[in-house]
């Protein structure tokens, strides 16, 4: 990865605001949250519960449009407030990989099919998709459970299948919301390192929401949210020590 590559933007969020509800029940979940992630960069998003981390992540994931603000994927403007400037679903399919706290696999598909389907939806043939799915699962150490249904896998195994699915289409952005919540510390560190490796090898911009302060050293940058506001922390080392 060259320096120039790493300075290509993967995703950019400008002054995102999200307001849930109206009148009495109005909740401002996000206020002027901005973030810039380059390709090959791995960013951690920290913050107390209810500070708006998931809201931010689903906004930049084009699932839950912000009330105002702009979201760029690469250098294309995709969302301006709630107004889409591109087909959100196909943007998600082609450019974004998701990993969530709960594994979120399709229950009636086997592990390998769950990975395969993401690629088939993106226009790959089923043979090619299956081959790559098995490679990815092998890489993540769950190849031997390829033909099992998600309900027969452990939480950690399910999470790794979900990671495989997120990586399947070689997305330029990977969004992970507490991906290691279901894992022990050894496994969770493994997943974090894996995300970092993928980011560096594939040139993807990665945003990881995490509460786990032990693995912060793998990140290139740290952001913190509090009451809907986003703040970039000075340095990784500083936070790790403090």
């Amino acid at each position: 990865m060259t320096v120039r590559d790493s300075e290509m933007p993967a995703i950019r969020a400008e002054r995102l605001v999200k307001i849930y509800g109206e009148g009495n029940t109005e909740v401002v979940a996000m206020q002027d949250a901005s973030m810039h992630v380059n390709r090959g960069e791995v960013v951690a998003l920290l913050g107390p519960s209810g500070s708006g981390k998931s809201t931010f992540l689903t906004a930049v994931g084009l699932i839950n449009p912000p009330t105002s603000g702009q979201i760029f994927i690469g250098s294309t403007l995709v969302l301006d407030g709630e107004r889409p400037h591109a087909d959100l679903r196909s943007m998600r399919r082609q450019h974004i990989g998701f990993i969530f706290q709960k594994s979120n696999l399709i229950p009636f598909l086997s592990a390998v099919e769950n990975v395969q389907i993401a690629m088939e939806l993106n226009g790959q043939t089923s043979i090619a998709a299956r081959r790559r799915a098995l490679e990815l699962m092998d890489y993540l150490g769950v190849a031997e459970r390829a033909d099992n249904l998600p309900s027969m896998l452990s939480g950690g195994q399910q999470q790794r299948v979900a990671v495989a699915r997120a990586l399947a289409n070689k997305p330029s952005v990977i969004l992970a919301d507490e991906p290691t919540a279901a894992l022990d510390s050894r496994r969770s560190r493994q997943v974090m390192e894996l995300l970092a490796t993928v980011a560096h090898e594939q040139g993807a911009g990665v945003i990881v929401v995490t509460h786990d302060h032990r693995a912060l050293d793998v990140f290139d940058a740290l952001y913190e949210m509090e009451d809907g506001r986003m703040r970039r922390k000075k340095s990784v080392i500083h936070s790790v020590i403090s």
Binding site: S54, T58, I63, N64, R89, S90, M91, R92, R93, Q94, I96, F98, F100, N104, I106, P107, F108, L109, E113, Q116, I117, A118, E120, L121, N122, S126, L149, R165, D177
Partner: protein
């Protein structure tokens, strides 16, 4: 990868049960159509089988099937004299209900014009046509009479010499074929006491007349059998059937006969219409309406089933949207399952129906064009009823995959 079949395979047991349920429902819809066909077919079957070109009946009646008709026996000879007529036969038809082994036995009694007509035209499944002028009968299997069995009706006993299948009256009773003479005896089956009483009444009436007072020996006639008395009309028959010579115009023959003041004449087609528009019409409409109702119910139930099937998958559908599946993938998932459900349901309904319907007391006819029509309806229902599920699936936001 086909998501619809993957999902079905995962929930195979439940899907199979659902198919079975739908198939039962469709079988009932199918059966209703079959019963409708059966009634129409049965109503006209006798007329078609007998195959007479023209029917002469009592003037202004719609007999002999739709209502009672009485014509004199000698009408046969009059009819034979009409140019163009190749044969004229007596026809006697009435329904009796007797008791046999403690159960009611309904027989549509049909008199054959012995000796011209021994019932050779009947599609016999066993036995032979009538072989003598009296005390033999051909019974439809639906009457439950075995070959060679003896059946006592009134004073006389009849032996079953032949059997037919699905020869039934328009009201569904099995037909028993007798000679006209026997059929008449069965109809006017009188005990000795009744005959004696009638003769005594005749004598009593005679005494009222001056002629009898002047010539008392005339009263001796009163106790003689009715057939020997010119004043008393001979027993009557229901109708006369005509066959027209090949190449001759039926219309012409009918025109001549209808000029006679005491009878009306109908062609075979007119007879069929009389039955369909008369006695069968209400049943037909009733079943037709019931069938429409069932189709609507089937549509509603299928819609609900497909809706719940969609609800069961709603999380997966949200997830598919989240990872960027276009709407057509989700549409295909739901529609394909609806079609599979409809097709399998229809198939099982057909197979099941073929085993179950023959056990019904009346005929259920699965007509090819009816089945095709129903298949079309099921197709429309399947697609139409998946709309509710589709509407729900289209509304779900990818956000719901996260909750």
């Amino acid at each position: 990868m086909n998501l619809a079949t993957k999902d079905i395979r995962r929930n195979l047991g439940r899907f199979a049960l659902t198919c079975l349920g739908i198939s039962m429902l469709l079988m009932v819809v199918m059966g209703m159509g079959g019963i409708y066909r059966g009634i129409v077919e049965d109503a006209t079957l006798l007329i078609d089988r007998i195959g007479a070109d023209l029917w002469i009946v009592q003037r202004d009646t719609r007999g002999p099937f739709a209502e009672v008709s009485r014509v004199p026996r000698n009408l046969v000879h009059r009819a034979l004299a009409v140019p163009g007529v190749s044969s004229a036969r007596e026809f006697l038809y009435h329904t009796i209900q007797r008791e046999r082994n403690g159960k009611p036995l309904r027989i549509a009694v049909l008199g054959l014009s012995w000796p011209a007509d021994k019932g050779e035209w009947l599609p016999l499944t066993a036995g032979r046509p009538l072989g003598q002028a009296h005390f033999e009968m051909i019974a439809d299997t639906s009457l439950g009479l075995a070959l060679d069995e003896q059946l006592t009706l009134g004073e006389d006993t009849y032996r079953v010499v032949g059997q037919t299948e699905s020869m039934i009256s328009s009201s569904g009773d099995g037909i028993g074929f007798f000679t006209v003479a026997d059929a008449r005896v069965i109809q006017f089956d009188q005990t000795g006491e009744a005959v004696r009483l009638e003769r005594a009444a005749r004598e009593a009436r005679g005494r009222q007349f001056d002629v009898a007072r002047a010539q008392p020996q005339l009263l001796e006639n009163a106790v003689r059998p009715a057939a020997e008395l010119p004043q008393i009309a001979g027993p009557q028959i229901s109708a006369v059937m005509l066959h027209v010579l090949p190449g001759r115009d039926r219309g012409q023959v009918a025109e001549i006969v209808s000029a006679w003041g005491d009878v009306s004449v109908y062609t075979k087609d007119a007879q069929r219409e009389l039955l369909l528009q008369g006695s069968v019409e209400k049943v037909r409409r009733q079943i037709g309406l019931f069938r429409i109702l069932l189709v609507i119910i089937a549509a509603i139930i299928m819609a609900l089933i497909l809706y719940t099937m969609t609800l069961d998958k709603i999380h997966s559908i949200a997830l598919l949207k989240l990872i960027g599946a276009p709407n057509k993938v989700i549409l295909a998932l739901i529609m394909q399952q609806a079609l599979v459900l409809g097709t399998i349901g229809f198939g099982i309904a057909y197979l099941l129906g073929q085993r179950v319907f023959p056990l019904f007391p009346r005929r259920v006819i699965l007509d090819g064009s009816d089945l095709l029509q129903l298949a079309g309806i099921v197709l429309l229902i399947s697609l139409g009823s998946s709309l509710l599920g589709l509407w729900r699936a289209m509304r779900v936001s990818p956000n719901e995959a996260l909750s």
